[in-house]
């Protein structure tokens, strides 16, 4: 294929991401499990890169957890989402950035439904006025926070203190990237690279010095799937998904995993503990697991943030072997200390997983 032809085709997989001025909404799951990731995103974009990222305490959940658990109908979710968009409009913004992949998928689904059924959009606008007295509006650009970090990846690389390189060998770290299904599979045209060539995380890793690992089950779901874990008796489905991925990536000896979804880092991280305790199997070196990170945590690490300020002590799989590999300094004595130096308490050690 001629080069121009390739460029033309690849251009169709691109996404328009405005440079600045965003209304930011947080994620319910990430605020609970990876609270430092969102704080890091805001710190990097606002304070390090000087971008205008606005957030308000008045925004709520997108309703995604309840919607995907079949506990609230779609019109209720749409009204919640219309309220979020109305808040964006009220504060004078047109670009909407969300922290959560579930939310991103749901926003895309809602916008597409409104486009397809204008009478439903009218009904939701009326619901919004009746319930909240807010004016209906839609964002001009809807992006996920990983889109923004992807957009700023070279600026982050320019300010980086570390590269994703093994300091002992000089070789790039072998990184598994795991894309959230609701980012690239539901509405492929809304993500960078579409469903076939999701590039959002690959671009970050390449820019920060790492090497991407390709393996057979690369595009397999992490096992999050709401119905698969909400009920205990179903959790074997979730665990088996994750197990299948790890069995597939194991021969390629990855150093770390980067994710852009709230559920993926949680399940890829925690299920390594469950697999170790039930099957006696670990996937990292010397009885360790493979550390799993959010893209903000990786951005924070390369920019020289303190690993404990990034919340890496809340991970199930210990991150210290990777920090040593890159050469990132950390104080083991401060691992379980809060911001004010108060001891937070130490979790019980797993039996199999180091």
């Amino acid at each position: 294929m001629i080069y121009e032809g390739k460029k033309k085709i690849w251009a169709e997989y691109q996404k328009e991401i405005p440079e600045d001025h965003y209304f930011y909404v947080r994620s319910c799951i990430r605020q609970s499990f990876f609270p430092a990731s969102e704080a890091t995103f805001l710190d990097i974009t606002r304070n390090k890169l000087g971008k205008d990222i606005f957030e308000t305490e008045h925004h709520t959940t997108c309703g995604g957890i309840a919607y995907h658990s079949d506990t609230i109908p779609q019109e209720t979710v749409m009204t919640i989402i219309a309220r979020q968009f109305a808040l964006m409009h009220k504060y004078g913004y047109e670009n909407y950035v969300c922290s959560c992949i579930t939310s991103f998928g749901l926003y895309c689904e809602t916008m597409e439904t409104w486009r397809e059924f204008p009478e439903l959009q009218q009904k939701i606008a009326e619901n919004l006025w009746k319930t909240c007295h807010l004016e209906f509006a839609k964002p001009k650009f809807l992006v996920h926070a990983s889109d923004l970090v992807f957009k700023y990846r070279m600026q982050i690389a320019a300010k980086s203190k570390f590269k994703l390189v093994n300091k002992n060998t000089g070789e790039p770290l072998r990184v598994v990237e795991h894309i959230g299904c609701h980012y690239s599979k539901m509405f492929p045209s809304k993500g960078v690279g579409g469903a076939e060539y999701p590039y959002v995380l690959v671009g970050m890793i390449e820019a920060w010095g790492g090497q991407i690992v390709d393996y057979p089950e690369r595009r397999h779901c992490c096992g999050f799937g709401f119905r698969q874990y909400l009920i205990k008796s179903n959790r074997g489905y979730s665990l088996s998904n994750t197990h299948k991925k790890f069995e597939s990536m194991e021969p390629f000896k990855p150093d770390m995993i980067i994710t852009n979804c709230p559920g993926c880092p949680y399940f890829l991280d925690r299920w390594q503990y469950v697999i170790a305790e039930t099957e006696g199997k670990t996937y990292g070196e010397n009885g360790h697991g493979i550390p799993v990170f959010t893209y903000e945590e990786v951005a924070g690490l390369v920019m020289g943030y303190d690993p404990w300020d990034l919340g890496l002590q809340t991970h199930q799989v210990s991150v210290e072997p990777l920090l040593d590999k890159i050469g990132i300094p950390y104080d083991p004595a401060k691992k379980y200390l809060g911001k004010n130096g108060k001891y937070l308490g130490e979790p019980q050690k797993p039996q199999c997983l180091k």
């Binding site: 008796s233 179903n234 959790r235 074997g236 088996s240 299948k244 697999i275 305790e277 039930t278 006696g280």
Partner: protein, 108 residues
């Protein structure tokens, strides 16, 4: 080991790199028609034994291609060699003879 009340389900993933293809290659030499099968399922649909037992030549051929000999053995164990499948095969495969060759080569 901890019992969480749930666990890893057996995977249906087949690693073809690890599958033993030696006997299937032997079968393909003895019965070249096995490569003609397009898995339409006419044989299974017309099978007399399939109404009573889990019998399917289509699935048996697929299992053999994937190196799952035990599965194939179960799927052919109730074949009565009536030959109805031979009459309906759109590819004209002598399925009755193929089943006999499978039983001979795989010692079923």
């Amino acid at each position: 080991m901890i019992d969480f009340g749930f666990g890893v389900s057996p995977s249906s993933r087949i690693n073809l790199d690890k599958a033993d293809k030696e006997k299937f290659n032997e079968l393909a030499i003895a019965e070249p028609d096995v490569a003609k099968c397009m898995a339409c399922g006419s044989c299974s649909a017309s099978c007399t034994a399939a109404a009573f037992e889990d019998t399917s030549l289509r699935r048996a051929i697929l299992s053999l291609q994937n190196g799952l000999c035990d599965d194939a053995s179960k799927l052919l164990s109730h074949c009565m060699l009536c030959g109805k499948c031979t009459m309906v095969c759109p590819r004209g495969i002598n399925t009755r003879h193929l089943i006999l060759s499978i039983q001979k080569i795989y010692s079923l």
